[in-house]
């Protein structure tokens, strides 16, 4: 009898909690409605508020579903002025504010992209599933094609260093390589025939180029020669822009760390059931990491947050549970992160709230 009374009181309390959640949910719904009304129609007026500013008008939320709700978004990036670029099912979308989602690509065969900003123009460098490079200028709102000479298979990765040099990696069963362009994609030089799925260029010493594919390599001379790194973690490479003495190599369930020469210094294992789908370090805080983690055989996982350099992970709740994360991008001021997901579009994570939880 006693237990039932306690449960009854707990249930009543539950009602109040539910009403609280309903209030939070309404934020998401309002946004969804707006997005749907204005959908893919591009408007030409200037941005009044960035997406981040608009989202942070209200603070009491952790996650929100924002755009392209029923679509798979494979990759996401932010320009310095807060515009979101997202790759979804072969198409690149430009999202300037909460109501303006515009497809900017003519074709639907884009496999990856990278944002390059030179102060005047923002260039979207796209790689296609047939080995081509196409470049979009936000100034002219037009695409140009660039001859790179890759295999007729998908381009896996595009990166740039802080001097504006663009690196393209390809890895297919036909072959692949690493290419560099020093003139914003007008011409390309092939650096190596090695197949490449992941690229990181050291932010302070641009001649140090790290690539991963079947194995991991470092070049200390701008890509002329590559040396094998003694790690079996080759899912991807990360270098923190501020604390760049350590190079992080991701594996399914952890990260190997090396010094910039490629000597292994440590291994951090994540005690979670599943496999990493994406790892991102906060550009201003070396200890704040976000990770997509997914247990494929059981269809469980989602977005995970660590405040202690990947030692302890907490799953982000509030609607993102059991959603497969493809990509993560921190906002310029690091108050938010934008999450690209499979079949669930783009979400926002309120880091200001999460940090206080």
């Amino acid at each position: 009898m006693k237990i039932n009374k306690v449960l009854f009181i707990a249930l009543i309390l539950g009602v109040f909690l539910v009403s609280g959640c309903t209030q939070n949910q309404s934020i998401t719904n309002d946004i969804t409605e707006n997005s749907n009304h204005n959908g893919l129609e591009a408007e030409k007026d200037e941005i009044e508020y960035t997406i981040a500013e608009k989202l942070l008008e209200k603070r009491d939320w952790d996650v929100q579903s924002l755009f392209l709700q029923d679509k798979s978004v494979e990759k996401i990036g932010l320009s310095k002025d807060g515009v979101i670029y997202a790759l979804s099912e072969g198409v690149i979308y430009q999202i300037k504010d909460m109501n303006r989602i515009e497809s900017i690509s003519d074709s639907s065969d884009i496999s990856t992209f990278h944002i390059l900003e030179d102060g005047k123009d923002t260039l979207i460098i796209g790689g296609t599933t047939t080995g081509e490079i196409i470049i979009y200028s936000t100034l002219t709102s037009s695409w140009v094609s660039s001859e790179i000479g890759a295999y007729r298979d998908k381009i896996n990765i595009i990166e740039s260093d802080n001097a504006g040099n663009i690196y393209v990696g390809q890895s297919s069963k036909e072959g692949g390589g690493l290419w560099v362009s020093k003139d914003q994609g007008k011409s390309w030089d092939k650096l190596t025939d090695m197949t490449v799925r992941g690229i990181a260029i050291h932010p302070k010493q641009n001649e140090y180029i790290y690539v991963v594919d079947k194995l991991s390599y470092v070049s200390k001379d701008g890509g002329k020669n590559f040396m094998k790194i003694n790690t079996n973690a080759n899912y991807g490479i990360l270098i923190h822009p501020l604390y760049s003495d350590a190079i992080y190599y991701a594996s399914s369930i952890g990260v190997d760390t090396t010094d910039i020469e490629g000597n292994i210094s440590s291994y951090t294992k994540f005690f979670l059931e599943g496999s990493m789908t994406k790892l991102q370090l906060n550009p201003t805080n070396i200890n704040e990491w976000l990770m997509g983690f997914w247990n494929y055989p059981y269809g469980k996982g989602g977005l995970y947050y660590s405040q202690n350099h990947g030692t302890i992970w907490t799953q982000v709740k509030g609607g993102m549970e059991d959603i497969l994360v493809h990509d993560i991008a921190f906002s310029e001021d690091n108050s938010l992160a934008f999450i690209a997901t499979k079949n669930n579009g783009i979400w926002a994570l309120n880091l200001l709230n999460i940090r206080n939880d």
């Binding site: 009898m1 249930l11 399914s252 369930i253 055989p297």
Partner: protein
């Protein structure tokens, strides 16, 4: 907010109604237990095992039989829109060496001068990678999906010899344990699946797709394809593998399924049973000492594939009066293997335990608790009763501490509890003395699973 006020009010009224209903109908612990469960833990334990089984079957529903150069090698799955293939069986069939690095969940692949590390998806120790990655990593020349089959083929491969139009399949037994329901008589010669007999004997089976050949323990075995599965003549296998110590027979009787139920707990009485799963080696000796000290007899569900390297420890477990059960040969998720593979997982462990101890196990515990009705029947056909657990001590969690294990067990103990614990864990060994002492103080007697099952009421068994 206004528009939700009515909704919240309505919910509030509903909750009050539900609450009043509970109070009015109070029959004691109504929310916490019903007649089938001793406590909430048991209910949650059963539901979690049941849900895990249903979820797994659901996630493995969209499956693909994989054929490499005509011969079946394994099964792949569509998970979240991507097709995943088991890397070991596919890569080994194309002569790549496969080295599993468990602490990283990474696999190293090597063939001639080629080397690659691949990040894998892990289903209970079986590694999968997505089709696109496998294609470029091990340089698959042709791969084609047709309905629920994936056909991988290489150039310049040797062609298989096929036997077509075989008669009705036969049951084939080893030491009276049903090994396969797919043996065939071809021109009065009995043919059995080569992999099934190799795996049932705990031997290493390899398929070389480039040369259309198979080997058992690195001895090349003459084989042909029947229904795209490598088969060998039984007479030939007996001679090559030297199988005189085993009894074999075959028949054509149809095997109907029985309504088998797994045992989750024992009879209603203040008796409980400790069970320990997984590998047996020297690290088990301190655990045996603790059990001896408190005069407790337990059941060890052992994984078969390392028993031959730990024969003396297994004999020691038996000598000290504990029961040895079957925990399969490789500790795989049974939902992810074929029927013949599952039979082989059980039979290989049965034969090995019998060879070392002289006794054939009669109890079996499915790794991870993964089972379905079909598996219960197969275990029964091999002479095994499926034993589950009513208390999960949670000692297998990576951060499990002795105090947590102790509290989990002691707070949830009830009449007939079967407690699952694991070998080779110091936290478990540290927690045990307190668990045994306090449970005894509460009036519980630790009995072997034999005794617990014998005291099981027919009524409860049926439930």
């Amino acid at each position: 907010m206004k528009k939700y006020k009515n909704l919240i009010l309505l919910m509030f009224i509903c909750i009050i109604g539900i609450g009043l209903f509970f109070i009015k109908n109070d029959k004691g612990n109504m929310l916490l237990a019903n007649d089938n469960y001793g406590n909430l833990h048991e209910k949650q334990n059963f539901e979690s095992i049941n849900n895990a089984n249903l979820d797994t079957e659901n996630r493995l529903k969209e499956s693909y039989n994989i054929y490499v150069n005509d011969a079946f090698v394994d099964v792949g799955y569509n998970w979240d829109g991507s097709i995943f293939l088991p890397i070991r069986s596919v890569a080994e069939s194309l002569n790549w060496t496969v080295h599993w690095i468990p602490e990283k969940q990474v696999i190293q692949l090597k063939k001639n001068i080629d080397e690659a590390f691949v990040n894998v998806v892990n289903l209970f120790g079986k590694a999968y990678i997505d089709m696109e990655s496998i294609e470029y990593t091990i340089k698959i020349q042709n791969i084609e999906i047709l309905e629920d089959c994936i056909y991988i083929s290489t150039l310049d491969s040797v062609d298989w010899k096929h036997i077509e139009n075989v008669s009705k399949p036969l049951n084939f037994y080893i030491n009276d344990m049903l090994m396969t329901k797919n043996a065939y008589l071809v021109d009065d010669e009995l043919y059995i699946p080569t992999k099934a007999i190799a795996s049932s004997l705990g031997k290493v089976y390899r398929y070389n797709a480039e040369e259309a050949s198979v080997s058992i323990d690195w001895i090349n075995i003459d084989s042909v394809l029947i229904n795209n599965i490598p088969y060998s003549s039984f007479t030939y296998l007996k001679e090559v593998l030297g199988l005189d110590q085993y009894e074999f027979r075959y028949d054509n009787q149809s095997k109907g399924s029985k309504d088998m139920v797994p045992v989750y707990k024992g009879a209603r009485g203040k008796m409980i049973s400790l069970t320990f799963d997984d590998y047996i080696d020297d690290e088990v000796l301190p655990l045996l000492d603790v059990l001896d000290e408190y005069n407790v007899k337990a059941t060890f569900f052992t994984i078969g594939n390392t028993l031959n390297q730990n024969k003396e420890v297994l004999k020691e477990v038996q000598k000290r009066g504990h029961i040895i059960g079957n925990h399969t040969w490789d500790h795989l998720n049974n939902h992810s293997i074929t029927e013949d593979e599952f039979r082989a997982q059980l039979i290989a462990t049965q034969l090995t335990v019998q060879e070392i101890t002289g006794l054939l196990p009669t109890y079996y515990r499915p790794p991870g608790g993964f089972y379905n009705e079909k598996m219960l029947n197969i275990a029964n056909e091999i002479g095994l009763k499926t034993i589950m657990w009513s208390i999960n001590s949670n000692d297998a969690l990576f951060d499990s501490k002795p105090d947590i294990i102790k509290d989990t067990v002691l707070n949830n103990i009830s009449d007939g509890s079967i407690i699952v614990m694991h070998t080779k864990r110091t936290s478990t060994i540290e927690a045990l003395p307190e668990i045994i002492k306090e449970a005894k103080e509460k009036g519980y007697e630790f009995v072997s699973i034999d005794e617990l099952i014998a005291l099981r009421s027919e009524n409860h068994e049926n439930k």
